[in-house]
Amino acid sequence: MLACLAIPGFELRAALRSRPSLALQPAALAPPEGAEPLIGPVTAAAHQVGVRPGMRMGEALATCPKLVLVEPDPAGAERDWEEIVRRLEDNGFAVESAQPGTAYFDTRGVERLYGGLEPALKRALAAVGSHWDARVGAATRRFAALAAANVARPGQVLVVSDEHTQDFLAPLPLRLLGLDERRREELEALGVKKVGQLAGLPGAAVAERLGPDGRSAWGQARGGKRGRIRGRRPPAEVVEVLEFPEAVGNELTLRRALASLAEKAVNRPERADRFIRKVALSARLVGGASWRRTLTFRDPAGDHDRIRIALGPKIAELPAPVRALRLELVELTEETGRQLELVKTEGDELQNRLREGLRQVKASTGGGVVATVVEVAPWSRIPEARALFVPQDG
């Protein structure tokens, strides 16, 4: 079974961890700087008085004048989410993290360990901890698992068997599908308000009317793909932090701080001479907000100068003075040395280099993006029958 763990409004919960008293008051996540003024997730108290996620800020404040807008804390949310994913991994689950607050895992490998499907899912919930109000859905298809997790109550495990998938999905609202607002409104204007109504339409007609997005939503409405869980490689744990005695806004000082952090991180013994594939620079800003940028190197880096040069321009994007600057070496390579080429690479060495290159591409763009084209009937007069693309695992 595929399982989905969901923590609705995760970013808001993460931002409220430092101010737990706000969780019981009408509060909403403020829009990120520079984005459209639409509020993010809301607390139960805000929901009760009519404030909804995605509302315009003005409308939300008019609906509830006491509404508290909580500054997003992306770096804190990412750290909390990383901690949750690690706890799941420590309990034996190979986790594919979709976004902070949503993760998928396959239960097949751990069902025997925990004595069945439900005990394994309960174990996952226990690993996350009760204060996050996590819920788990399980089904044979990915979207059905996601829908089950969204429908379940906090702390509940909801399992949907394959034969009941269609019946389970049918009465659910369209907002669960990955459709954009306009498409959803278009469907609702046509009288299609439930997932089951969309699933009952002919696929080709949906594709014609709504395009590829509509076709993919229609596929989801019928349960979605079975898919496969791609467990992530746990990130490295090399972190360097520099706290400033007072908030710093001067770019030159921050660049110097970055250079010092890069040097320290690269010289850490845990790196064990491995090359750095991906780095993250985050900052705690004055006023309590946070900021984070990640960067994947085209060629894995082995010296601190490359990190400094690559991350330097990001410093200029900082929206406010900084209280603390943090550099993480998020992903490291496995090899520790690199031999320059004297003769043309062949055989196993060539294969290894190709594999390494593919891993680099995956680190930068995510799983499932590298595929091999396999010709199956190159002579066919039907273009789509000539070749397949097969996802590569490395």
Partner: protein
């Protein structure tokens, strides 16, 4: 035929290359496209028919057009005569 050497699980997740995509086409009276995705057709470079798998339950009956649009884009579209719909396709 080139045989695939990958694992069975990899094959399960394989997709087809150059799958047709639904296209918004407004045809002339003779069935040739006049507008493709709201852009006027400047030139029809080539036209051909593909009739295949007529012995199966999913026969293929397509009328292909290789067209140049007013934007300068070169697109291949076909009318699926079996289902009465238009698609665009790469690799044709």
């Amino acid at each position: 035929m080139v045989s695939h050497t990958g694992s069975a699980s990899a094959l399960r997740t394989a997709g087809r290359l150059n799958e047709p995509r639904p296209a918004l086409v407004e045809p002339e009276a003779d069935g040739a496209p006049r507008l493709v995705n709201r852009l006027a057709v400047e030139l029809i470079r080539e036209e051909w028919r593909v009739l295949d798998r007529w012995w199966t339950e999913q026969p293929i009956n397509r009328r292909y057009f290789d067209v140049v649009l007013e934007s300068g884009q070169n697109v291949v579209v076909f009318h699926d005569d079996e289902h009465g719909r238009w698609f665009s396709q790469r690799g044709a």
